[in-house]
């Protein structure tokens, strides 16, 4: 796109990596932290001084061998209790990709953290213990991944060393998952890999103990799963974040609409509509600082100028004139409730949707979803911490939106409690 990037690629290709975000859910018992520790360790992302501090902590906690799980526990209380409480972010890179892991605790009381980790992930990595097979929490993690519209699931059958690396055990779990879980998911791309995180089998290096498995290792999967087609490139959306007005002599009449492209492809010269005003114009320029672009697509942060001087401000959306988003004050959405204080009908809440702040009233609870079974409950009318429900709400102004299934950015919003300002609800528009 620019001469600068050409300059970059001369330096051995390491500037040209794709970024993959994945989430892992599970408890210490499935060996999730050990698996992450192993990925980081075998891809050389754990450094000597970190290793030393892990060794020190392992000894202090009475462990005999180095506990790779301690890599992922950040806070003192987490290390002491041996549990992960909050989402932790980890980073590693191979020559092919850079990875961001959102590592979340797996118990049901941490559903909100799983939802948080899943909200920005391309891939969900789900662990089962080879001895136990598919459990309630396996289903829960899978359903959450599906609810959040993650497009790829990797099911790692871990602790294969404890079932003597037997192929039958692995095939049985795989079949059980396909028959009883995968059939209920919106996820089309599901991969399976038998591993031993503790011993490193099929994590980075091929297992010597499971010659019957001829597929890719976990790392090879993560390096090659194709994600470029996952984003919406059909309906062009630019939620306006900020209006750039230099007000100096050189850029006297400059008005730039700054934002991050949330969907579709904008091209210089395209006809666009500013909403909610409905005024139309054509794209005069697309810029990232001094650099002029011909096209812009997600997730680039750009500044756009228009041919006509129309009134556009933060909270508005510039969209392709050929595909307008929906507009309504009556919204139906799936909510994950994040607060210990239950959702209150008839109470006013704040809403943050893209760059638009407004208010809402919750008017109806349609049903509650049992995240372990996917059963719908139309009777119960209370929504508390970690509950997932379909709700209806009325907003003070029209929302400009797409369904979450079509666009994760323009189809999502958060609910904020007035007074405490806490984020209490995560919503996906139906």
């Amino acid at each position: 796109m620019t001469s600068r990037q050409d300059n970059g690629s001369q330096h051995g290709g390491y500037l040209d990596m794709e970024l993959l975000r994945f989430t892992t859910a599970g408890s210490v018992d499935d060996g999730k932290s050990t698996l992450i520790g192993r990925l980081l360790y075998d891809s050389k992302a754990i450094f000597d001084d970190q290793m030393k501090s892990i060794e020190k902590a392992s000894t202090r906690l009475g462990g005999e061998e180095v506990n790779l799980a301690l890599v992922t526990d950040g806070l003192r209380s987490e290390r002491e209790q041996g549990i992960t409480i909050d989402v932790a972010y980890r980073y590693f890179a191979t020559p092919k990709r850079k990875f961001i892991i959102a590592d979340t605790p797996g118990h049901v009381e941490y559903t909100r953290n799983m939802v948080t980790g899943a909200s920005s992930a391309n891939v969900a990595l789900i662990l089962v213990d080879g001895r136990n097979g598919v459990l309630e929490q396996t289903r829960r993690h899978s359903f959450i991944a599906s609810l959040l519209h993650i497009k790829h699931i990797v099911l790692c059958v871990n602790k294969m060393d404890l079932v003597d690396f037997k192929q039958e055990e692995y095939e049985q779990i795989k079949k059980d998952y396909i028959d009883n879980v995968a059939s209920k998911l919106n996820v089309k791309d599901i991969r399976f890999v038998p591993v031993s995180a503790k011993l490193g089998d099929n994590i980075v290096d091929k297992s010597q103990n499971m010659s019957w498995y001829t597929g890719p290792t976990l790392l090879e999967l993560l390096e090659t799963i194709e994600i470029v087609n996952d984003k919406n490139i059909d309906e062009a959306r630019l939620p306006v974040q900020y209006v750039v007005r230099p007000q100096n002599d050189k850029f006297h009449d400059y008005r730039g609409y700054a934002g991050r492209v949330a969907g579709g492809v904008f091209q210089k010269g395209d006809s666009v509509t500013a909403l909610p005003s409905g005024k139309t114009s054509k794209i005069k320029s697309i810029e990232i600082a001094e650099q002029a672009l011909d096209i812009a697509y997600p997730p680039l942060s750009i500044t756009m100028t228009l041919e006509d001087d129309i009134d556009v401000s933060r909270g508005n959306m510039i969209v392709s004139s050929e595909s307008l988003p929906q507009q309504s004050q009556d919204i139906t959405a799936m909510v994950c409730w994040l607060s210990a204080k239950p959702m209150a009908m008839g109470q006013r809440y704040l809403v943050k949707h893209t760059t638009h702040d407004l208010k809402c009233l919750i008017t109806n609870i349609v049903y509650k979803l049992n995240i372990n079974t996917l059963d719908l409950n139309y009777e119960e009318k209370s929504v508390g911490l970690n509950d997932i429900a379909k709700i209806q709400l009325k907003t003070t102004e029209p929302l400009l939106f797409d369904t979450y299934a079509n666009n994760r950015i323009t189809g999502s919003f958060i609910i904020i409690e007035e007074g405490t300002n806490n984020t209490v609800g995560a919503c996906m528009i139906e």
């Binding site: 600068r4 909050d86 087609n229």
Partner: protein, 301 residues
């Protein structure tokens, strides 16, 4: 397969610019903390790009221990002069003179801990409602749990077990009177990403990131820069060696790396090959297993 791929540096840049624009929109009086180190220089560069061709709508602030590498201060002053931005230097020495903090004594004394008080006092004095920092989650295990938008109570404290969930790219910066936010626009960058980006964008850096001959001494296996206010212990002797900084902090706690790196390419090679984390050379983090967590709870960067 479509052609709309983005590379990791493009995606990180886009994310950081988005965060910086959210700060400008959601807060009334945000300040950018600027130490003159590589992370704050990259954050500054991103802010310049985010608001171009307008000036960035932020004041800069340096929490100055007075124990600086001279090269960093010269670089800082030149950068603000060239970009026409305002910088406040909040002096730890003033906090000491006013009796707000008591200076540590002895050869291991550092003003690192004292910066928290100076920072919180400056935030109160200037009525800043948001302070942006160049902290990255890959730096340290407590930082791995940090949000992009991190809420601070009226005492400036961080409550890591009670943080607001952060979903998609929606950032909730709502707060009550007297509270403020810390925002970390480059949360998702690693040390390697920062150097690759500096190379890609051809960003000018302070000279001490490159190899140079300097008077140094060894303490507990770390090379520290000698300066007139550094007290040597018995058996410590000053030598002249070829070193460079991997991080830049207060001179009393910044470990130097023996290095011959003269270019950004050399530095990237070195970062790729190293087996020690960047903060492994920071005496301030070595004090205990949870040194960073404890300082952050109190209101440290």
């Amino acid at each position: 397969m479509n052609n709309y791929t983005v590379k990791h540096l493009q995606e990180l840049e886009a994310e950081s610019i988005y965060v910086l624009r959210e700060v400008a929109s959601q807060f009334e009086n945000p300040v950018m903390l600027f130490s003159g180190g590589k992370d704050s220089i990259v954050m500054f560069h991103l802010a310049r790009k985010a608001f171009y061709p307008a000036k960035m709508p932020f004041t800069l602030m340096h929490i100055d221990t007075g124990h600086n590498f001279q090269e960093t201060i010269e670089f800082r002053d030149q950068l603000i002069a060239e970009n026409g931005v305002t910088l406040i230097a909040a002096m730890v020495q003033e906090s000491i003179d006013k009796g707000r903090v008591v200076e540590e004594q002895g050869p291991d004394a550092s003003r690192n801990m004292l910066q928290t008080t100076t920072l919180l006092d400056a935030i109160t004095e200037h009525k800043f409602d948001c302070a942006m920092g160049g902290g990255r989650r890959d730096e340290e295990k407590a930082r791995a749990k940090e949000r992009f938008f991190s809420h601070r109570d009226v005492f400036g404290q961080w409550d890591p077990k009670n943080q607001r969930p952060e979903l998609w790219n929606i950032f909730n910066g709502k707060k009550n009177m007297g509270e403020h936010f810390r925002v970390f626009p480059i949360s998702n960058w690693t040390e390697m990403d920062v150097w690759q980006y500096i190379l890609q964008e051809e960003i000018e850096m302070p000279s001490i990131y490159y190899t140079h001959r300097r008077k140094v001494f060894n303490r507990n296996g770390q090379w520290l820069a000698w300066a007139p206010f550094m007290q040597l212990k018995e058996n410590e002797k000053v030598e002249e060696l070829d070193v460079r900084c991997r991080t830049i902090g207060d001179i009393t706690c910044t470990g130097l790396t023996l290095s011959k790196a003269t270019s950004l390419e050399d530095i990237i090679q070195e970062v790729a090959a190293t087996r020690i984390t960047e903060r492994g050379g920071r005496a301030d983090d070595q004090r205990s297993e949870s040194a960073m967590e404890d300082r952050k709870r109190e209101g440290y960067f």
